[in-house]
């Protein structure tokens, strides 16, 4: 037995780096995986709330109300959606996820009066049936896209990009192309299904403006239209989304999850959620459209603290994907033995692409998917959403706010110079915002 305690590991060539070089040399193919960015990046953890004190007074936690509702899409749509909480469920496809998982997301979101979102692959009856508010994604592939479902939706989200891979398309590997998934996507069963990275019938924001007008015409101007972008050149992207006629802009930071993307893409393209929120809010304010076009922020939202900080920076709502899957049962210790068989462990599992998810969430295998009880999993999601909401209210009350939307940047301080610069709030104990004069 070698005593490893004195062995010196290279920071540059760490064990995971060495293993990846070995894996690449063995297989000749890049690593495709699910989940989001795993490396340490500046995040909401680097911000704190100042709380009420001599100059502000707080609200009583158990007696004084703190509102959480939000209206999305009242810029142009005749039927904006009114949510009870400012936390929505992000787009995830039937195909990437099992039908049971999609149903559970709908159930959990509906119990809490919030929305869920389709993904690449169309709308399933399970999902529509269980979702009080359903956002229908309009993606480059247009798999399963049809006007009937478009009219059944409560809102339409034009997906330009996502945080895990701004500028990237998608790949659903053949293992997950079951007969039902293949049928919905008009593709042969069992083949690798590629999703284009650009829309097939528009290029650039001027075309998108015409495209959005078409979608409004088809749906008689009833549905709110969201534009979702991966966080990159966020100030300009949000400006152009507003110009193109969006009712709502969704900005997804680089921590945002995916079902299947190259690891190099997940870890090295896009900017973190923290600076993206600030850039998006700056764009909306410069256009005098803040609170008129709503901003939804996603990518790495885990707790009520993250929700409250995003709202304080100026977002109208947040969206969760990875955290919602974890609430359903993803990466749960109860499946440890099976995670081990797949060469991983609970807490590390990210092979959403290969269709063997022991939790029955990221799979199309009938036996595995049957493990997920949509009612029980939906309840867990509702519980989790409830905790996020209570935590957000707790922080808002501590800052003396009677509605979570009254949180403001002035309530925040940054713990690191990087976070101060990115979020545009002062370094704690100072009035210094790096880069602002």
């Amino acid at each position: 037995m070698v005593d490893k305690s004195w062995l010196k590991e290279s920071a540059t060539f760490s064990r995971p780096v060495i293993r990846e070089i070995q894996r690449a040399a063995e297989t000749g193919i890049y690593d495709i995986r699910g989940f989001g960015a795993k490396r340490q990046i500046p995040h909401f953890d680097d911000l704190v709330f100042l709380g009420a004190s001599m100059s502000r007074y707080p609200l009583e936690g158990y007696r004084e109300t703190c509102g959480t509702n939000v209206t999305l899409g009242d810029r142009f749509a005749k039927k904006p959606i009114h949510l009870d909480i400012p936390i929505t469920i992000a787009g995830m496809s039937f195909g990437a996820l099992s039908a049971q998982a999609k149903e559970a997301l709908g159930r959990g979101a509906s119990q809490m009066g919030t929305s869920t979102t389709t993904g690449d692959g169309g709308m399933t009856p399970e999902e529509r049936g269980q979702s009080k508010y359903l956002v229908y994604q309009y993606l480059p592939s247009r798999y399963g896209m049809n006007p009937e479902d478009l009219r059944k939706a409560d809102a339409i989200e034009v997906v330009v990009g996502q945080g895990a891979k701004p500028g990237g398309g998608g790949m659903l590997l053949g293992q997950k192309i079951s007969p039902r998934v293949a049928g919905m996507r008009d593709l042969p069963e069992g083949i690798d299904q590629r999703s284009a990275c650009r829309h097939p019938d528009w290029t650039g924001p001027d075309d998108l403006e015409i495209k959005i007008a078409e979608l409004r015409e088809i749906t008689d101007w009833e549905k709110p239209i969201f534009i979702k972008v991966g966080a990159a050149r966020t100030f300009y992207d949000v400006t152009l989304a507003v110009k193109a006629g969006a009712d709502v802009v969704v900005v997804d930071g680089m921590q945002g999850g995916t079902a299947a993307t190259q690891d190099v893409f997940i870890e090295h393209v896009g900017i973190p959620t923290l600076p993206a929120v600030r850039a998006a809010v700056n764009a909306l304010k410069e256009l005098d459209m803040h609170r008129k076009v709503q901003l939804i922020v996603s990518g790495g939202i885990r707790s009520g603290a993250d929700v409250a900080k995003a709202l304080a920076m100026g977002a109208d709502a947040v969206s969760i994907g990875t955290a919602a899957l974890i609430a359903l049962g993803d990466n749960n210790d109860t499946h440890e033995a099976e995670y081990n068989k797949l060469g991983t462990s609970a807490g590390y599992y990210d092979d959403y692409q290969d269709g063997r998810d022991p939790a029955g969430i990221c799979t199309q295998d009938p036996e595995l998917s049957a493990r997920l009880d949509p009612v029980a999993a939906g309840r867990r999601l509702a519980n989790y959403l409830s905790v996020l909401t209570l935590e957000t209210q707790t922080l808002a009350r501590a800052c003396g706010k009677s509605h979570v939307h009254n949180l403001e940047p002035e309530d925040l301080a940054a713990l690191t110079i990087e976070a101060a610069a990115m979020a545009g709030v002062p370094l704690a104990g100072t009035e210094w915002i790096p880069g602002k004069f």
Binding site: M145, N146, R194, D201, W202, K211, E217, I218, D220
Partner: protein
Amino acid sequence: MNTFDLSDNPVRELNQHLHGAVTGKVVVSNAGGKHSVAVGATGAHEVEINGNVGYYCAGMNCDANIQVNGHAGPGLAENMMSGRVHVSGNASQYCAATAHGGLVVIDGDASSRCGISMKGVDIVVKGSVGHMSAFMAQKGHLVVCGDAGEALGDSIYEAQLYVGGKVESLGADCEEKEMRAEHKETLQSLLDAAGINDMTVDDFKRYGSARKLYHFNIDNASSY
């Protein structure tokens, strides 16, 4: 018969009518290059549009028979589900993009990316089509009586392509296929449906997927 003069009426009124339950003859005049003309139609409307149309004319059409007496801008009949669209002039890029069903007939030429990501529609172009036509085409048929531009059928899935003229180049994973009896039968029915009687099925070659990119293989990396 209902008439809509688009120089006086907004496109909104026309589209609202086409989403209603009452079907019948609709005549649209002075289309004037407007966008989203006759989009989202539901039901067996008989729509005659006089003048050129802008982007996305007949988008997401269900069941309507739409005749355009003029040229069409980008995205004609995009994501059409069923019905028929006929353009007497030329059509711009992305004609019938992602369309699931129905028939689109272009008397003139179609531009680049004709039939991109098509999912079951039948397209007959009496003239020629531009580059990258039938890119990632999944299902349905594209008939081109004239020539096809470069990279025809790039990354194609199961759509069937028939070209009467020359093909500048084939895209990744697209190859010439044998024209068997069943293909001739299908092609003949499409030529009949489009009213083409000056060409025969023997004037065409068939193209489709080599199916080499259906499962990721690193040795094909240069084709992706």
